[in-house]
Symmetry: C2
Subunit: 242 residues, 2 copies
């Protein structure tokens, strides 16, 4: 059964990577991924803070970007301190844990993005994930640090009951983040060539909107192949006519 | 509505007191109590770690012992890393939060003991509390630090729904920890004078057993007064006869 991947995006302090690893190990998570850690990896400052969670650190993988870190996950989340106006569904760590357990029982992999210590995740980091996790906190004092946020999500995963077995029969298989991201990139390149992005200021927002659209659609791998075929056909069309 | 008191017993590092205050403030708890902090109080190392939870630190009270810190609470808990053979009921942070919410809705105060960083709570610290809280963790890696343990208990308190209103009618009022501790001390002194503790090696275990007994009995304040009257009468009896 796949366990959720914890993805630290551009973490600043190696000590916090160690503390996140410790939080994970307490709740039986061991798939730690780092996107562009500021001070490089491996880093000797992580070990002492891990307090014995050395296996988690040793297995940690480094990825150049968020899409690469999420690539093999079918169920993707991003944690934010407060909900943003990004069009995502926003749920609690408890509800996320319930969904991750259900996904794991069907053999699907979950992954959760955690932003850098001060700035948090950017709109672009978030655009391609399925759902936002926001922990309910005191509205007058919300100040969870990186390792605490990891701790609460990992704790809820460990607490969540395994779901009832799924009814027999063929289940729809969700496309992985990598397949969705591949489709998104394919469409974006095609649109670029087609001159779709003629107002450069609007391009970033348009790209995020498209990413949300693909994410929400809950495509299967077959859907993705079909859609990429359509994009190819549309692009080739004028050449045939020309 | 009274909110639960967080009691740090013999904390070693002021930084951890600050981090515990931060964890509390995130989940709207502000009643921090310190039993014999190793490095004294107030302590300048606590502030930076509190990350803005200065009100919690400013309001923190110092007590010489566990009984004094628990005195005004009717519902008392102690946190331990693993269950001990102390005869207490052992529950999860989630169940504890449910009970604390129910108690608060009846106007009763809860308090939770957290032990020192390395050693944890002693058998004597625990003897007088009602219930043990143990967080379910990975059996192969259980390593929650002090502030993390506070965070999880505070988080569950904040998450727990307020209970349904109690049915109308007179509710039995639980005796406070101070009333129970007063009864226990009264009985112990009387037994001491009566020569009950004639095998000194057994005295500490006997005292813990008696404390458990009073705690389990769920006495009302009226019960406590009645029992103390009985103890006085028994002690005075021989004098009258003499």
């Amino acid at each position: 059964m796949p366990t959720p991947a914890i993805i630290l995006v551009r973490p600043q302090l190696a000590m916090n990577i160690g503390m996140a690893a410790r939080a994970m190990a307490n709740f039986a998570l061991d798939d730690l991924r780092l996107v562009a850690p500021r001070d490089g990896w491996p880093n000797p400052d992580a070990g002492p803070a891990a307090a014995g969670a050395d296996d988690v650190l040793a297995r940690a993988q480094v990825h150049p970007g968020v899409d690469e870190a999420l690539a093999d996950a079918q169920l993707t989340f991003a944690t934010t301190v407060r909900p943003r106006d990004s069009g995502h569904e926003v749920i609690t760590p408890r509800e996320a844990a319930r969904r991750m357990r259900a996904a794991a029982a069907s053999g699907l992999r979950s992954a959760i993005l955690f932003g850098p210590e001060r700035a948090g995740l950017t709109a672009d980091d978030i655009a391609g994930v399925g759902t936002i996790i926001t922990c309910p906190v005191n509205p007058r004092f919300g100040s969870l640090n990186l390792a605490q946020a990891v701790l609460l999500v990992a704790y809820e995963w460990f607490q969540a009951d395994p779901p009832a077995p799924a009814p027999p029969g063929p289940a729809a298989v969700a496309a992985s983040h990598g397949e969705i991201a591949g489709l998104a990139a394919h469409v974006e390149e095609a649109l670029e060539r087609a001159g779709y992005f003629h107002v450069p200021e609007r391009t970033p927002a348009t790209l995020r909107t498209l990413r949300r659209l693909w994410q929400r659609a809950a495509f299967t791998p077959e859907d993705v192949r079909t859609l990429r075929g359509i994009v190819r056909a549309l692009e080739e069309g004028p050449r045939r006519r020309g």
